[in-house]
């Protein structure tokens, strides 16, 4: 079966196996985990909740996957989420009757423009000035949350504009609307990267930027592009986050999201050393994180403690990715065999 073999070759099988194990665990130990029902024409249940709650991280992970494929990193995405949420909130205004200050479309376009501009800033620092990606995006990580707080005047802005709620709370054909956003963006990204040479260019910049440049790839613009795109994705994610709680909190919106998104990408099989990326893997990674969180909730453990589990997962995954670790383990087994 060629399809099964190609599935094994793509690294997707490992993240899927991990997700499968988590779901299996829940099947046996969490009562009603797979229970689903139709209420008011929408599907309800744990699985739908996982999809819905994972949406903001999935959106971030799409952009971040491409950044990491170039051997870069973008730690500013959480702050950009806060900026996007802040912009949309001040443009819609906190009018109690629900009349938006500016039309909804204007607010959305402005939020996306602001976050794309943030991405452009990161991209210029990395591709033109030549700063290390961690440092370049660190600047906006620090300043971005400050910008969001100054925008919202350090207050939580509550929104009452009903149509805006669709991004985070709306349903379409029985499924949460945010899922369609994720699917749309994912499809678009997959088409652009896999049906054109852009994906190959991104990977070659990640493997060896100098060689890529010598073979005629405009490495600088590829780098610029992935950071701009990552900013845009963070903007979309910000809209979903803001709409879910119908408020913009510059301090907490998107807080620590960058870590979850990086974790999702790494869990999905994209190596931090760049050169290869798996968009679908990153999506599965985001689902693993969300399923893990939901599982921990189901056991009545304080949500904050879930961070300890996440940390242990990161250690385990990075050890598995470490060549030295694998060699050492392989060495133990081989030694055993030769002795026997």
């Amino acid at each position: 079966m060629p399809s099964a073999r190609s599935l094994g070759r793509t690294k997707l099988v490992w993240p899927l196996a991990a997700l499968g194990c988590l779901l299996l665990f829940n099947f046996f130990f969490t009562p009603n985990f797979f229970h689903m029902e139709v209420k008011e024409g929408h599907l309800y249940g744990n699985l739908i909740d996982i999809l819905k709650n994972a949406a903001p991280i999935m959106l971030l992970a799409i952009g971040l996957t491409l950044v990491i494929a170039t051997k870069g990193i973008d730690i500013s995405v959480g702050s950009v989420v806060a900026i996007s949420a802040g912009v949309v909130a001040i443009l819609l205004g906190g009018d109690l009757a629900g009349h938006p200050k500016y039309p909804l479309a204007v607010a959305i376009v402005a939020a996306l423009a602001a976050s794309t501009a943030a991405g452009l800033w990161n991209g210029i620092l990395v591709s033109r000035i030549g700063l290390q990606p961690i440092i370049a995006t660190l600047i906006l990580f620090v300043a971005g949350r400050g910008i969001a707080m100054v925008l919202t005047n350090a207050m939580v802005i509550w929104l009452y504009v009903k149509p805006f709620a669709i991004f985070g709370q709306g349903y379409w054909l029985g499924l949460p609307f945010s899922i369609y956003l994720v699917a749309g963006l994912l499809l678009l990204t997959a088409l652009v990267t896999r049906r054109t040479a852009i994906g190959l260019f991104i990977e070659s910049v990640g493997i060896n930027p100098t060689a890529a440049r010598f073979s005629g790839i405009n490495a600088k613009n590829i780098l610029l592009g992935v950071y701009v795109f990552s900013g845009f994705c963070a903007g979309v994610s910000g809209l979903v986050v803001c709409s879910t709680v119908m408020s913009a909190d510059g301090n907490n919106a998107g807080n620590l999201y960058e870590l979850d998104a990086i974790l999702a990408v790494v869990l999905g099989g994209t190596s931090l050393n760049g050169g290869k990326f798996y968009l679908l893997g990153s999506m599965v990674g985001a689902l693993i994180i969300q399923t893990l969180t939901t599982t921990i909730y189901a056991f009545n453990v304080a949500p904050e403690i879930s961070q300890v589990v996440k940390a242990l997962v990161v250690y385990a995954v990075s050890l598995l990715q470490s060549e030295r670790f694998r060699h050492r383990i392989a060495g133990v087994f081989l030694k055993g065999r030769t002795v026997a």
Partner: protein, 338 residues
């Protein structure tokens, strides 16, 4: 003499010194009551914990690494000390010893992972950030107030200097850490090895320097400094709160970078870091004196300063570098150390 003063190593430190004097001078002219010896000393009192974190971070960054866990390690230190003092009623000195041991042990653990399995410091310390923050909540979900006599005394006592001026015991601890840090970096074999690893780890290894031992020691040291910073922070707030030190890792990194330490490793000084912290503190005081600006502007100004200093560093490198070096350094990923 001028040429020695103006050599490459000193230029960034002199720039930051000038910036600090400029900002402090501007504040003194613009706002009445800004200029006083006590106000200068307050910079050390209010930023003692940050100074301690930043000294540990200086070692890490000079070695070409990064430690993102220091903020939550500080939080963990405040939680453990508050919990042991108020719930277990242990002797305060024993509590301090335990906290320092826990911090050093966590740093040691991360250093071992980074060294033995060749893992990126960024990811390992990022996971450390999660781990320490999660452990805070394992200790307690609620804020714990500290009523212990020793900690109260440390919080309220003053060390008198000339005139009516004073510093807090925390500031004395911080300055001692700076002094020891500066001495170790400059005058010991360990310090030299830290610079050598940051300059080129492969060469350091070929020179027969104890790279593995030193790298693990660096992360243990950073863990120790985070724990000590946490204790000093506890003197400051007299409570343990699970969100203490949120985002502080970036303040620490920012002050180290502003202080002239190169993020690519190999260059930097503890003295520069002190100046970085002073500039950071002065920005905060200026914003307080200004009155109308929201305190979040501090973050924006800090972000801008980090940008400015990184940008200047790139300019210096580009001017010094030969063509070959420049081709490589144009592409950031190639210069990132593995």
């Amino acid at each position: 003499m001028t040429r020695r003063l103006l050599n490459d190593r000193n230029v960034p430190v002199l720039v930051i010194l000038a910036l600090f004097l400029l900002m402090f001078g501007w504040g003194s002219v613009a706002y009445t009551g800004f200029f006083s010896v006590q106000n200068f000393l307050n910079l050390f009192i209010d930023n003692a914990y940050l100074l301690i974190l930043a000294v540990g971070m200086t070692f890490v960054i000079i070695s070409g690494g990064i430690d993102l866990s220091v903020g939550s390690m500080l939080g963990l230190a405040t939680m453990i000390s508050a919990s042991l003092l108020e719930k277990q009623h242990l002797n305060p000195l024993l509590v301090i010893l335990i906290v320092l041991l826990v911090g050093t042990a966590l740093g040691f653990f991360m250093g071992c992972l980074i060294q033995f399995f060749d893992l990126p410091p960024f990811i390992i310390t990022l996971a450390g950030l999660y781990l320490a923050r999660g452990l805070c909540y394992v200790v307690s979900l609620d804020t714990i107030a500290i009523n212990d006599g020793f900690f109260q005394a440390a919080a309220h006592s003053q060390v008198k200097l000339i005139g009516d001026n004073f510093v807090s015991p925390s500031a004395v601890i911080a300055l001692a850490v700076v002094a020891v840090g500066a001495y170790v970096l400059r005058f010991t074999r360990f310090g030299r090895t830290v610079y050598a690893i940051g300059g080129n780890e492969q060469s350091a290894l070929l020179m027969g320097l104890p790279v593995a031992r030193t790298k693990i020691a660096i992360y243990s040291l950073s863990g120790f400094c985070s724990a000590l910073g946490g204790i000093v922070f506890t003197f400051y707030t007299l409570s343990g709160y699970a969100l203490d030190g949120k985002g502080m890792e970036l303040d620490a990194i920012a002050t180290v970078v502003i202080g002239g330490t190169l993020l690519t490793g190999g260059v930097g000084s503890a003295f520069g870091t002190v100046l970085g912290v002073l500039v950071y503190g002065t920005i905060q005081v200026l914003i307080v004196f200004q009155g109308t600006l929201n305190s979040w502007w501090t973050r924006i100004v800090i972000g801008f300063l980090v940008f400015l200093f990184c940008f200047l560093q790139r300019l210096f490198e580009a001017r010094k570098g030969t063509t070959a070096v420049r081709t490589v350094s144009q592409v950031p990923a190639a210069t990132a150390s593995g």
